[in-house]
Symmetry: C3
Subunit: 208 residues, 3 copies
């Protein structure tokens, strides 16, 4: 199980690194700039989670597999584009959805192990999933995906709750983790495909 958890974590790191590289590439950064953005995107959410939970050392500090995965994913993305052609914009959204699914559930799981209230686990799960991408979008001076019309935080909340619910039923951990990830992924992909949106709020009156 540790091993499956670890592989999932590395998979999330890889896909978020790809989204970071693509976003930095959209801004026409050079190779090392692309690498910096990929690193921040891929490792930002987990770092924030571990720092807030007081888990030291942060996962990638002692285990350089994480950095290696980011470097290879970034170089792979750059080479792929150089050898073929620019990746369509939608690929970034889809990779982001995979990373969101993996990191939200892993974040929920890691937090839950610290014997905290369930609401903390949900918040930290959503934060782990969302933070890397938000930092990426702010650094790249883009409108964060969390602002776009399609639901973004909602699939994470539902996936995190799914994890907590199935976890209570004492099912096999692989099943719990996998189902919760699928919930996030499918709802988010459906939201992208069919433009699911919740009603928008207009809470401030700019005319007064």
């Amino acid at each position: 199980m540790v091993s499956l958890f670890y592989l999932c974590d590395l998979f999330g790191v890889a896909v978020f690194a790809i989204t970071g590289a693509l976003m930095a590439g959209r801004k026409a950064m050079d190779l090392f700039g692309v690498l910096v953005v990929a690193l921040v995107t891929a490792l930002g959410g987990g770092t924030l989670r571990d720092v807030i939970l007081g888990l030291h050392p942060v996962s990638w500090i002692r285990d350089d597999t994480y950095i290696a995965v980011v470097v290879f994913a970034t170089l792979g993305t750059v080479l792929w584009v150089r050898l073929t052609r620019p990746i369509p914009e939608k690929a970034l959204l889809i990779a982001d959805a995979f990373g969101l699914a993996v990191f939200t559930v892993i974040g929920t799981e890691v937090t839950l192990r610290q014997q905290v209230p369930l609401s903390t686990a949900v918040i930290m799960g959503v934060m782990t999933g969302v933070a890397g991408g938000v930092i990426r979008d702010i650094i790249c001076n883009d409108i964060p995906l969390i602002f776009h019309k399609e639901i973004y935080a909602t699939p994470c909340i539902l996936g995190s709750l799914t994890y907590l619910g199935l976890n209570r039923l004492e099912l096999a951990p692989e099943l719990v983790t996998g189902t919760a990830m699928l919930v996030v992924l499918l709802i988010r992909l459906a939201a992208i495909r069919w433009h699911f949106a919740l009603p928008r709020m207009q809470l401030l009156d700019r005319n007064r």
Copy 2:
């Protein structure tokens, strides 16, 4: 005293959550997006303070009252607007001033307990007061209030110094805390009302 401190902290969390919700609502985010911004705004300053001071676990991790207060404040704001009408823009500024007052003084107080130099207590106090709002404004892609014409960091510095001064006099702690909060609040509200501003600096020559 612990209890009064705790209530003040929760009050600061509630008003900052309201400002986060209002700001996210200005950007016409959906309900969960509004909730995410409210959480970051309300808990960001205190989290940064505790992480920098090495205080683990961060206050809201084990005590879900904090998250509950944010959720209720956010839902209350959303419902209020839905049932009545959009809140005038100035309400955000006033709620922000209350949060600023409470968090600056609490931040000074918590830091001082760590036996650090007084200047550290002032810096950490100002940071605790200011950080949540700055993160809110950056995420919402708005010009941070700290940039607006009216003084913003100044009331925090004065309030933090007031706390340190009165604390030396060994007055009742409630009196020290309350007076310092009032100093921040009144100066900031006066600054909003009468557009207090310090002279602006122009330190870079853009023409050379």
Copy 3:
């Protein structure tokens, strides 16, 4: 050696404080706003490094020399401009290059002491050098220098690798540190002077 290390650290703090003050001055902030930006720029990179490495307390928390250096550097910058004239834009770039050189090498050095993989030391070194400036530019709503045409992350990576390489050779620590700082500084200054740039990536196809 500790003493030289400490002096270098304070020098980096001072020059980054100056860049923060200049950038805040470009935005015509008032004195205390300028001070806040100077503090965040000067102490941000080292704080992030220490928090991620789990080093408590963060360096400037117990030793108020750091805050004093920031305050004096900021006041000095403001007074200089008031008594003479606005500083040419290029001065900010040059001060930033000095800070980058010092903080990248110090960040590499501090991280290496934690017995971590070499790749972690490089990443943390670059992050320590780059983070304060990125936060400064984001707060001031400016395009981060890391985005400009001239190479920015590249000199840091080369300087950090130089440190690791010379460190292996067991040369005198002052020589290792000094040479690595010079590598970052000279490459970055040359990049500013002659507009060195790596090829830009265009990884996303916006038309599909």
